[in-house]
Symmetry: none
Subunit: 240 residues, 2 copies
Amino acid sequence: MSAELLSRIRVVLSRTSHPGNIGATARAMKTMGLSALYLVAPKKPIDAEAEAMASGADDLLRGARLCASLDEALQGTVYALAVSARRRELAHASADARSAVQPLVAAAQAGAVALVFGTEMSGLSNEEILQCSATAHISADPGYSSLNLAAAVQVLAYEVRVAALGAQLFAPSEFALARHEDIENFYVHLEQSLLASGFLDPANPRRLMPRLRRLFGRNRLEQEEVNILRGMLNAFDKNT
Amino acid sequence: MSAELLSRIRVVLSRTSHPGNIGATARAMKTMGLSALYLVAPKKPIDAEAEAMASGADDLLRGARLCASLDEALQGTVYALAVSARRRELAHASADARSAVQPLVAAAQAGAVALVFGTEMSGLSNEEILQCSATAHISADPGYSSLNLAAAVQVLAYEVRVAALGAQLFAPSEFALARHEDIENFYVHLEQSLLASGFLDPANPRRLMPRLRRLFGRNRLEQEEVNILRGMLNAFDKNT
């Protein structure tokens, strides 16, 4: 069961600069039993340096899925954990890695999940963070917190492995979790309804949609809940 | 106190082949607040590759102590933990990394201690292992357990840091949480809006309001979020 659980955990690297880091990430993943590598718009393709750093984990490089956007890489997932060193004003509260992997591993009992990492230099964008379900950080020295990308993947993958093989898992929800794409479609609908109602002023959107993403994103929305929210919006739309 | 504790924890690399791994080890150590690097008879001296991989942790390279033997590197320590992937017939029973760092950190309150790592290819010799107080392994995939040297240092240094500091949590939220009565008023407003829009049929309410309470109740709503939700409902109401 735990091998199947680990197979459902994607590692998503967004806009990586150095192919060597992709290779080192593949090695780090494979040591911990993870295999699903997703690359969002890497600045350079997988090359000989990547294969050298993968050092026997080149099967993960060959199986890597190339995606144009984070949205594409998260298709079909029910939970995504953004890994970020920086404090974010409007993001979810950030949990330490050990706590943060617990709900991720629990959600993996229900479907695909993702660990999401940003660029070597600047990490994830706020927009990317708000597409995820939660945010994690690795406890590090405040004066020098710059873990190498593959080192950060190693620590999170290690925590995931310990959590997955260890005994106590939260009971999975009795209801089906919504898929990423259904949640994104809900946000599109919500924005349209708010524009039509006049509450969202396109000339002055303030931070309304990010705030609403933060509110709903803290929940792992269930499929039926998304259906209800969409139904509500349809009812409001009719009167607009 | 915990910074002083971390300063007493040496990382000892025995007979390292590649200077790049020494540099990457320095970086991994520094992110976790460790600073005391001991090199036992490295096959090649610290070079430009080591400095490139250290990436800002070159102060640790400059401060590294060069030793002729493991015995010399362990002078003055009160506890040494051998890190080894392989099963050893004649060694101590091996504990997983998380358990193994507990007595190490406890001993660091009394004096200097060491995490001891062997060569990239064959790890520590049996003779070296038996100079240490205990043995640790990192849980890894049985089919591919070959962590990069610096990755293994990263995981152990991370476990040491978490044990020494306790998991630091960021504040759960920087924003004021909504009060119970404000949330209840929101539910009253939501129900009225849903009745007016026709989505909630008073003759057949099904379980709509309980489901919405369950959805929003899983979040601890913030005051500002309740204000936004009430504003949205006002905008929808106007069009009803």
